[in-house]
């Protein structure tokens, strides 16, 4: 079962890892931040080693986006980002392939950090049950 883990964040300035640029994370004691970095590193190594991590990317700043929408003449018109004025933006994603929903939830929880929202979404698959 494949899931995407979407990292919604608002690093100031935009940067990765996002936790380094989020006020709530910066406010934590250095020791705790070092431990969180270490844990995250272990998590990525674990997912890589057991073949659960399919891919992942850190995304550029929303202000670097180009948005394409059709106008009244059904012609694509490009504008500059960001896509929405919300506080948090899509900052990165990971695609995982795991055995169960429980395992996906367990992994997603470990991606979470202060001042950010982690979204776990199943991907659609081309098969189905006939009963």
């Amino acid at each position: 079962m494949k899931y995407v883990i979407l990292i919604h964040s608002n690093p100031q300035p935009w940067g990765h890892p996002t936790g380094d640029y989020v006020a709530e994370a910066q406010a934590l004691p250095a020791e705790q931040r070092a431990r969180m970095d270490h844990d995250f590193d272990l998590l990525l190594k674990e997912l890589h080693a057991n073949g659960e991590l399919v891919s992942g990317e850190a995304l550029g700043a929303p202000s670097a986006s180009r948005l394409y929408r059709w106008d009244a003449d059904r012609t694509p018109v490009a504008t500059d980002g960001p896509y929405s004025e919300s506080k948090e933006h899509l900052a990165g994603f990971f695609l995982i392939d795991v055995e169960t929903q429980e395992r996906a939830e367990e992994i997603a929880a470990r991606f979470s950090g202060p001042g950010e929202t982690i979204e776990l979404r199943p991907t659609m698959w081309p098969g189905g049950d006939e009963e």
Binding site: G51, E99, G127, G128, D129, E131
Partner: protein, 416 residues
């Protein structure tokens, strides 16, 4: 000889080559490397010199020679590296094959190989990957493509599996009689997982040349040949045959999923049904009845029914009640609810489904709502069925099911 001709030979022989090596040398990774080298040698030599009379014997001999060469090189290196001259890997150099020792004879080792690939130290995905690689003889690329992940991800799972086998000291030997039932059960679950992964695909498999349903069936046949008197292995083989028989009927021209109740039963493969039923008739009277035999028995009742309404529903409801005792689970409860609704009344079925709605995990499961919607419609309550179809469509991660469920909601007058 064409490459495909060679691939066929390899698919047939690779597990025997690997088994022959593993019988004499315990490390799976070493043996797989040596077997691969023998394959490369065949790719090089056979087109020029012709296929040997006994391809399996040839492959075993060449692989064995490579394995011996490697071991000798490694022992020499480790002797140089270690001041005390003791090999670190636990291999006793004295026990290594000597130059005059000839290749191991050919013997059917399929069962040992299956048991090793499904060793309890491996995660389920690693067991699946290793079984397809070592027993089915698929390439890493083929397995990755079949599971729709990059080859790199599949390579990781296989690397992890080999390391886990080594760490666990997994031996290429028959487990003790006490351990055997659990080990065979694990192999059976892996075979069934592979089969299901392939069978539940609809459109996706057009992009993939490896049919996992065929592979799962092939692996189960292999297991059945090794353990012909095992009740659950026989039951699982029967179940897969009776299910696979429906393949031609389960998608329409557009590639959309056709549920069992709407399938054109003339398209079912009668030879496969007959084989499945014959297996089941042989095993059921023996007494012990496990989950695979029960599921196969249910599939057999469907296979013998001319239509959905003319199915022996009391019999199916009874079999699901037995399955609930042996292997309870939400999927069993949902299927049982449908059978009870058909055998008695829709409200009796709905009572079973409503029990699941108290469980938060099942409330988020699309099939709970899909079955509820269907039963509400049967009960003559389309107003209640419509939102249940909608909820089921929203929750499923299956594209064909989502199209089907949305179409049901639309049929009941919902917005498209």
């Amino acid at each position: 000889m064409t490459f495909h001709g060679l691939e066929d030979v390899w698919r047939r022989e690779s597990s025997h080559v690997l088994g022959a090596l593993l019988r004499r040398h315990g490390d799976y990774g070493d043996c797989e490397d040596a077997a691969q080298e023998a394959l490369l040698a065949a790719v090089d030599q056979w087109p020029r010199e012709g296929v040997p009379d006994n391809p399996r014997g040839w492959l075993i001999r060449v692989a064995w020679r490579r394995l011996v060469d490697r071991q000798r090189a490694r022992v020499a290196r480790e002797r140089r590296e270690l001041t005390d001259g003791r090999a670190e890997r636990g291999d006793d150099p004295a026990a290594l094959p000597g130059p005059g020792e000839h290749a191991p004879e050919d013997r059917d080792d399929s069962l040992r190989l299956l048991l090793m690939c499904c060793h309890q130290s491996l995660s389920r995905p690693s067991q699946v990957a290793l079984t397809l690689r070592a027993v089915a003889g698929l390439s890493v690329e083929q397995i990755a493509a079949a599971y729709l992940v990059p080859p790199r991800t599949m390579t990781q799972r296989l690397t992890r599996a080999r390391a886990a086998l080594r760490d666990a000291g997994a031996r290429f030997a028959m487990p003790t009689p006490d351990d055997l039932p659990a080990r065979v059960a694990a192999v059976l679950d892996v075979c069934h997982l592979v089969f299901n992964e392939g069978y539940t695909r609809t459109s996706g498999d057009r992009l993939v040349d490896t049919d996992l349903a065929e592979e799962g069936l092939r692996l189960t046949r292999l297991l059945h040949a090794a353990l012909p008197d095992h009740d659950e292995v026989t039951g699982a083989l029967a179940l897969m045959l009776l299910t696979h028989a429906r393949t031609a009927a389960r998608t329409d021209e557009a590639g959309d999923l056709v549920p069992l109740r709407d399938q054109d039963r003339r398209l079912w493969d009668r030879a496969m049904v007959a084989e499945g039923v014959a297996l089941l008739e042989r095993v059921l009277p023996r007494g012990h009845v496990g989950r695979y035999q029960l599921q196969a028995a249910i599939a057999a009742v469907h296979a013998e029914a001319p239509t959905w309404p003319d199915t022996d529903w009391p019999q199916i409801a009874l079999l699901y009640a037995m399955l609930h005792d042996v292997a309870p689970g939400p999927a069993v409860t949902l299927n049982r609810a449908v059978a009870v609704a058909m055998a008695r009344t829709p409200d009796d079925g709905l009572a079973l489904v409503d029990g699941l709605l108290d469980d938060p995990a099942m409330r988020r499961h699309h099939r709970t709502h899909a079955v509820r919607a269907h039963l509400l419609e049967m009960a003559g309550d389309p107003e209640a069925a419509l939102p249940a179809y909608r909820e089921a469509a929203r929750l499923t991660a299956s594209q064909p099911e989502q199209r089907y469920l949305n179409a049901q909601a639309e049929r009941l007058g919902g917005e498209g």
